[in-house]
């Protein structure tokens, strides 16, 4: 544990930013007493935000640790100011309690709060149920689909019915594979102009409706990952009115990009869910404003350079975001929704969905924070990113705001 004195910093306490002050940080706490032998950092009036919580982490370990591992992931979290995250790997289903135990061990970096989604079917194949009771006892936060369509509706019913004994939430990325039909991009005029196979909105809404109906029928709480269109948000609102316990998140990049970026044919924009139209992006912002959307997810999905340095359609889908989420989103979030709601969406609400402790700052308590100067700028350069991956759709762009450092798990990292 190291000691740090943050001078000239504005901590976010009790829902607002305080006047510039000094924060003494030691042993992972914000302490009253003066510190000796401490590193002193003059933040120049920067903000001290409660650290962020990332929904949708996939650090590839152990099966693809040639791409990325937890060490890289934690490095990215330090660079981006994330103290925890909800982990689910598409390639590596956590489908028994020993796997969960092993991955918990791999991820035991001091002070970081990881939650894990168990798979509700073995290998996400929707053929055999997993031992959900044991997974829950081992600490699974909920049960997920691994971002793969639960195509068999009867299996979905049985999984949710069995899993309901644990009281845990089921997490789905709503996307009907049959309607997707090899589509990679939003089915809209950009896809049609480019002659690319599209994914229609109904591929999402039909999958979401099926899950919501099942949740209503079985009284099982559900969460929708990476909602990408306004129609799904309406379905969620309607279901909530009927008593369904449904939460949802939207992906960071879906708030920043729409399908017009396809004209650049940049393979970094090859992601699932696809970037939809400008009107969908606006609907997601409205969802943040109205409260229909509970949280913003990061969906940090590392892809090797050689798997992105190909033409768009042959690229491996996925994007990383931990390092740039805050500078990319802070300004538009604050301008449209205010700083309290911004932090709710990036930190407190995601942590709540994952059942993790909040990173709320108060003197005398545990402190996980990120020092952020909203007056400076960040150029999204490859050197910003941890590990060997660079698959960020904003590469080369200039963002408003700059992360100066993070204090996570009692360790100060100057960025």
């Amino acid at each position: 544990m190291n000691k740090i004195v943050l001078k000239n910093v504005r901590p976010f306490v009790n829902g607002k930013f305080e006047a510039p002050t000094t924060m003494n940080l030691a042993d992972g706490k914000w302490v009253k007493e003066d510190l000796t032998d401490a590193t002193v950092f003059d933040a120049g009036g920067a903000l001290a935000l409660p650290a962020l919580f990332g929904l949708g982490l996939d650090f590839k370990e152990p099966l693809r640790d040639d791409i990325y591992d937890f060490k890289d992931g934690v490095d990215a979290m330090r660079r981006g100011g994330f103290y925890g995250g909800l982990y689910e790997s598409s390639d590596n289903a956590i489908d028994d309690s020993r796997k969960l135990s092993a991955i918990k061990q791999i991820s035991s970096f001091a002070g970081f709060a990881f939650g894990f989604l168990g798979a509700f079917s073995m290998g996400y194949k929707c053929k055999e149920l997993t031992e959900m009771i044991e997974l829950a006892e081992e600490g699974a936060v909920g049960f997920g689909d691994g971002n793969q369509d639960a195509t068999r509706t009867r299996f979905l019913r049985l999984a949710m019915e069995y899993g309901s004994m644990t009281g845990k939430r089921f997490f789905f990325m709503p996307l009907d594979e049959s309607l997707r039909h090899h589509g990679l991009v939003h089915e809209g005029h950009y896809a049609d102009t480019l002659g690319m196979k599209g994914i229609p909105r109904v591929a999402e809404t039909i999958a979401a409706f099926r899950i919501l109906e099942m949740a209503r029928f079985l009284k099982v709480p559900v969460h929708f990952k990476q909602v990408s269109c306004g129609e799904t948000l309406k379905l969620i609102e309607n279901a909530r009115e009927q008593g369904v316990d449904a939460t949802c998140d939207v992906d960071i990049y879906h708030l920043l990009l729409d399908d017009s970026c396809l004209f650049n044919l940049d393979s970094h924009c090859n992601v699932v869910m696809p970037f939809r139209s400008a009107s969908d992006k606006e609907a997601l912002w409205q969802g943040l404003k109205s409260g229909t959307v509970n949280a913003i997810s990061v969906n940090h999905d590392p892809v090797l350079r050689q798997d992105k340095e190909v033409n768009f359609e042959d690229a491996v889908p996925g994007a990383i975001s931990l390092e740039i989420a805050l500078p990319a989103l802070w300004k538009p979030l604050v301008e449209k929704l205010g700083d309290a709601r911004a932090l709710e969406l990036l930190s407190f609400a995601p942590a709540k969905i994952a059942g993790a402790d909040s990173s709320d700052l108060s003197l005398g308590s545990k402190a996980n924070l990120v020092v952020f100067n909203d007056k400076e700028e960040t150029v999204v350069a490859p050197s910003l990113f941890a590990g060997q991956v660079r698959n960020c759709p904003l590469l080369g762009q200039t963002l408003s705001g700059k992360i100066k450092g993070s204090y996570l798990g009692g360790l100060w990292t100057e960025v």
Partner: protein, 311 residues
Amino acid sequence: MSALEIKHLFGLRGVSKQDIRLILDHAKQFREVLERPVKKVPSLRGMTVVNLFFENSTRTRTSFELAEKRLSADTVNFTSSNSSVKKGETLVDTLRNIEAMKIDIVVVRHKGTGVPKFLADNSKAIIVNAGDGAHEHPTQALLDMLTVEEKLGTLEGKNVTIVGDIRHSRVARSNLWGMTTMGAHVTLCGPSTLVPRNTELMSNVTWESDVKKAVKNADAIIALRLQKERMDDALLPSMREYRNTFGITHELLECAKDKVLIMHPGPINRGVELDSEIADGENSVILNQVTNGVAVRMAVLYLLAGGRAHE
């Protein structure tokens, strides 16, 4: 020689009228060269062109190869079936290896949209798109335009109707961009499962579901090839119903102008999108299209190479 504004030919969307005019005018001159006893000019002597075909092609590749040879270029054919691509080499590595052999122009066909642009971003060579996915096939559209101009004098004000699988057709996309730029009015017609649903960016064309209405005022009809896979994918119930509803038949042409030009990018499914008597009939200009294909490709290669020489 005036230079083209474009440095590569990725497609016809966004290509200026002046550039298209320049290509068509040069193609007309090369068309005359093709009628000479010695059908060869020295324009690309000393230059090397690689035909990089990742998709099967006989007609387009042969046409490009002939165009290159008629311009006295050295040509190399590279197909994915006999290449290191089969051994897992990436597209960029394939290109860089070929480029290291000091080539000047790459003619590429690939199943992926945007591959020509991707190659241009990663190479110093001049890139010519010979078909990328369902995106564009610009030289096919240019030869179609040349054929219409040759027969009707101009594209300005002419009505061109494209019938068939618009959704999956790179030929249709290139034609609608190119023809509208040159002042033609384009009508698109096909079964609802084979036309794009989102047509905002194609608002300068007419969409018509009734093929009889679509051909009524047409000066030229382009019938698109119907791929058999569309039946397997349940996009259509049968070839029979397609032929009876959207096929270019003698009966359908009774609704059209007497002198309407009948065009097809080939290869034809006779008795499906086009009846034999129409394909071989007096209105058909399909073989003219094939001849014009060589002339247009000569013009494209010549002008792009010249543009580079001017830098």
